[in-house]
Amino acid sequence: MRVLVIEDDEDVASFLLKGLGEAGHAVDLACDGVTGEEQALAGGYDVIIVDRMLPRKDGLAIVGALRAGGDKTPVLILSALGAVDDRVKGLRAGGDDYLTKPFAFAELLARIDALARRAVPEESETRYVVGDLVLDRLTRRVTRGKEVLSLQPREFRLLEYLMKHAGQVVTRTMLLEGVWDYHFDPQTNVIDVHISRLRAKIDKDFDVQLLHTVRGAGYVIREGGA
């Protein structure tokens, strides 16, 4: 997909260009706010990554201008400040996601994948299907093959989130935010335990494993190997 990066820090920019290129994305770079805004408004991007503090024009102002013009291109805001209120400000300004520097590249990649997918309307989908695993969002029933699986409410939401992003890597932080609405990283890796419980319910007694761990990144649910 086509990604626009608006970032003035050379190191971060080159790191992003290199990484996104390796991941197979076409990347344009703007090094200041004004140029970035022009390019963003010109359109044609699947995702825009914008730094908050930029020379000539503030990152949040760019998002504001974009949204004021009715442009709904997903925007990921990068910030050196990680305070809770900054995230709220970023999202209020019209950003779709928020990431604090420094970040793991896998985290960024997973998030822009999710953002690009979010642009396609699919909230109306009432059933998620991965292989023979079916999650019905209306009846809240989960079946694998002919077997009905009994899940706790939180396990259901965890599976729902994973299946909504089927085929995409979701990170632990994304799960904490999306399933638990926690916007910080606990010291203990709590997500792993919840995933292993879910895995015990949906994969343990079946030949084909659907929930895979992606080393150094997170988890993915999909048919076929890791």
Partner: protein
């Protein structure tokens, strides 16, 4: 206290008006009595006469000449022989003496008079009196004026009192609201001046000057910490991205990869500590804008227990929830409060195993005290000796027992900072055995 002033004022006025009335009416009455007495003397002093032969004519003459006197002359049988009163007043005895009495004129109107009597020769009794309506009238009109004036005075006094009181309370309340907003983190707040230049304005002015100085200091501190954050985080970010890039290179030798992965983990730990430190610093500087929302404290701890329950079970431990109420409404910053509670639960899981061995039993609870919501995380571990509890809340302080464990030493100081931001406190206490940490927040209603 102004009520006392008002009462004293009313009582003194009442005494004054009373004295005035008493003096005036006494003077008027005495005058009437003296006139009556002298007239009686004039009529009755000529000794050696038969009263009934002379007095009726003398009295009639006086009445006809327009005298103000009231007269009544009776013979020994009590029959009226002369006078302008219809009947002998029942208040007066038929002997020498006198006093007040009432009478009716021919028109039927009632009046009050004072008079003197004297028994003359042959059992004849003469009453001479004077009307004292004027004294009574003076009294009653004085009385009504007094009541009226008192009413007006009381209304005005109470109104002035209420208005003055309101104005004063309003200004004190403004000061309180300002200081509350400042404590909530808005350092730009100032106390508004009334412009009257009184003592309260002077106080507000000097408080404002102090606030300006504090704001200046805080801004300086925030700038320094933001700069440090930026300057230290940039190289950290570079280390992280270089290592990540290198790891993505498929040509790397396994031994190198392992080293790089460890570097990445360490860098992430450093970043975590760094972010926690910055957050604590910003919370303490009140630099975090309150995005407080109304939430249910009971649901909040159930969420935390739900997240950590499975983790505890993996280690054979137990996280239990204790609720005294179904729902506990609270206005707070959800993310910060969650982070504080999670820090406490993580601490309890780390240090809360009983000294005698066995699994950790952690109880997370929320209770309502008057005006307060109290979160508590309790364990059955070795606890913290009472002398070290104060120190445990400080930044980077790690008590001896915890040195061997991984951690930043910022967990409890973050909890304390979150509590302070919400106007609450943190209490460390003996759970005998074990430690109980209480996060006490003011139960601000859903205002």
């Amino acid at each position: 206290m102004p009520l006392i002033t008002l009462s004293v004022f009313v009582i003194v006025s009442a005494l004054l008006v009373g004295a005035l009335y008493w003096q005036a009416s006494r003077a008027l009455t005495r005058l009437a009595l003296e006139q009556s007495e002298s007239e009686l003397r004039e009529l009755a002093t000529d000794g050696g006469f038969v009263p009934l032969e002379i007095l009726p004519a003398a009295i009639e003459r006086r009445i006809e000449s327009g005298s103000l006197g009231l007269y009544f002359l009776t013979d020994a049988n009590g029959r009226k022989r002369a006078g302008n009163l219809n009947r002998w007043p029942p208040e007066i005895e038929r002997s020498s003496g006198g006093g007040f009495f009432g009478y009716e004129t021919h028109g039927g109107s009632r009046h009050i008079a004072v008079g003197v009597t004297e028994v003359l020769e042959g059992g004849v009794v003469l009453l001479v009196g004077r009307n004292v309506d004027a004294a009574r009238l003076l009294a009653s009109s004085l009385w009504w004026w007094f009541i009226g004036a008192l009413g007006v005075m009381s209304v005005l006094g109470i109104a002035a009192m209420i208005i003055g009181h309101r104005a004063l309370l309003g200004r004190v309340e403004m000061m309180r609201a300002t200081s509350a907003a400042i404590m909530a983190g808005d350092l730009a707040q100032r106390i508004p001046l009334a412009g009257s230049g009184d003592e309260l304005d002077a106080l507000a002015q000097s408080l404002n000057a102090m606030l300006a100085r504090i704001e200046q200091l805080m801004a300086g501190l925030k700038e320094v910490s933001d700069n440090i954050a930026h300057d230290l985080k940039t190289p950290l970010a570079r280390i992280r991205s270089s290592v990540e890039s290198a790891l993505r290179d498929p040509r790397g030798a396994p031994a190198h990869r392992e080293g790089l992965e460890r570097t990445l983990e360490e860098a992430d730990e450093l970043i975590k500590t760094f972010n926690a430190l910055l957050l604590v610093a910003r919370l303490e500087a009140g630099a975090v804008e309150g995005s407080a929302e109304t939430l249910d404290a009971a649901a909040l701890i159930e969420d935390v227990a739900e997240l950590y329950g499975p983790v505890a079970e993996e280690g054979g431990d137990l996280v239990r929830v204790e609720l005294t109420a179904e729902a506990v409404p609270l206005v707070a910053n959800r993310q910060l409060l969650l982070q504080a509670l999670i820090n406490l639960v993580e601490n309890a899981l780390k240090y809360g195993r009983p000294v005698t061995g066995g699994p950790a039993e952690i109880t997370v609870s929320v209770a309502v005290r008057p005006g307060q919501v109290v979160f508590a995380v309790a364990d059955r571990g070795p606890g913290i000796p009472s002398g070290s509890r104060e120190r445990a809340l400080k930044r980077f302080v790690r008590l001896e027992a915890s040195r061997s464990q991984p951690g930043t030493g910022l967990g409890l100081s973050l909890v304390a900072a979150v509590a302070r931001l919400h106007g609450g406190t943190v209490e460390l206490d003996d759970n005998s055995p074990g430690l109980v940490v209480r996060l006490v927040l003011p139960a601000r209603g859903t205002d």
